[in-house]
């Protein structure tokens, strides 16, 4: 773990991060499928077990570190830096130095559509990092003009008929765990988190009942439901 003292995220961001630590992407999606968008990129957590939560600070680049360095500099403590590499072949957009800087600035995590590297080093930082690829070859620097920030990026999200585009702007939120990375609009974060907590508390009642020896069919009212006498309480 790093000994760097990072600046704190604001109290709302810190509270939401703390709340999400007790939950997961599955709970968010279950609680609010209309407001929780699952990123359709094949993202892999490079730091298994760590939860990612924070307002997104997006940047797009084509194998050039300059826009990423600009975005890192502009991001606020608690933000999740989302770097999308538009090049067909992705060189690494994050490694030991950039990840260390992200920790020092108090960022909430890194999500890279493209490659990262130095996985062994990153694993020790306590910073949630997700990427679609790993490549030891680093992206170049300053071969493109400076980016205009802040910017929005379009990401593919899971839809009923296949991936569809979703524009992410600074302030929208990303959440991630070992299962997935999901996006939530800024003004829906609070109700989604609260609904997930309430859902979880209902699920805990079911689990407690089953642990206590009650059959799941009884605890969730299966027979009454099948007989048309009541709701199926599994559908909490």
């Amino acid at each position: 773990m790093t000994s760097t003292t990072a600046p704190p995220a604001d109290s709302r961001v810190a509270r939401i991060r703390e709340t999400f630590r007790e939950l997961g992407c599955a709970q968010l999606r279950d609680a609010a499928p209309d407001y929780v968008e699952v990123l359709a990129w094949p993202l892999v957590s490079r730091t298994p077990g760590l939860h990612l939560a924070g307002p997104v600070y997006p940047v797009a680049t084509a194998n050039d570190m300059l826009p990423v360095l600009q975005a890192l500099d502009a991001a606020a403590p608690g933000d999740v830096l989302l770097a999308t590499n538009t090049a067909e072949y992705s060189e690494a957009l994050a490694g030991d130095v950039l990840s260390t800087a992200a920790v020092a600035q108090g960022l909430g995590g890194l999500v890279v559509h493209g490659a990262v590297r130095d996985l062994g080093f990153i694993a020790e930082l306590g910073l949630p990092v997700f990427s679609t690829e790993v490549n030891i070859i680093s992206a170049k620097t300053a071969q493109v003009p400076a980016a205009e920030l802040p910017m929005s990026v379009t990401v593919p999200v899971v839809g009923a008929d296949g991936p569809r585009p979703l524009e992410l702007s600074p302030g929208d939120w990303l959440f991630g765990d070992d299962d997935a990375v999901v996006a939530v609009r800024a003004d829906r974060v609070s109700p989604v988190l609260n609904a997930a907590r309430l859902l979880r508390s209902q699920e805990e009642k079911l689990r407690d009942a089953v642990r206590g020896g009650i059959r799941l069919s009884e605890a969730c009212g299966l027979h009454d439901y099948l007989a048309g006498r009541g709701p199926l309480k599994m559908d909490v």
Binding site: A31, P33, A195, L199, Q202, P231, D235
Partner: protein, 84 residues
């Protein structure tokens, strides 16, 4: 917001959320989960409406998590102080 106004408003929100399914309006102390008024799909919509009613983000505490089951408790948790 007065208690009876809240109950009417809340019941209206539930009807909107549950449409086209129809449920009788709950009594103030009815358990909304056990009677099928609330489930995962209804919950987030209800919270969005409640945040609009209160004009602020709702922060659930351990207490309010336990009490978010009846209209009576929801009113007591988020509206009673303001009405007093």
């Amino acid at each position: 917001m007065e208690r009876q106004d809240f109950y009417r408003t809340f019941s209206g929100i539930l009807r909107t959320i549950r449409a086209p399914r129809e449920f009788p309006d709950p009594a103030p102390d009815d358990n909304l989960w056990d009677l099928g008024h609330l489930d995962s799909f209804a919950m987030v919509e209800l919270l969005i409406h409640l945040e609009e009613l209160t004009g602020q983000e709702i922060t659930l505490t351990a207490d309010s998590l336990r009490n978010f089951h009846t209209m009576e408790r929801i009113y007591d948790s988020y509206f009673a102080k303001e009405a007093a």
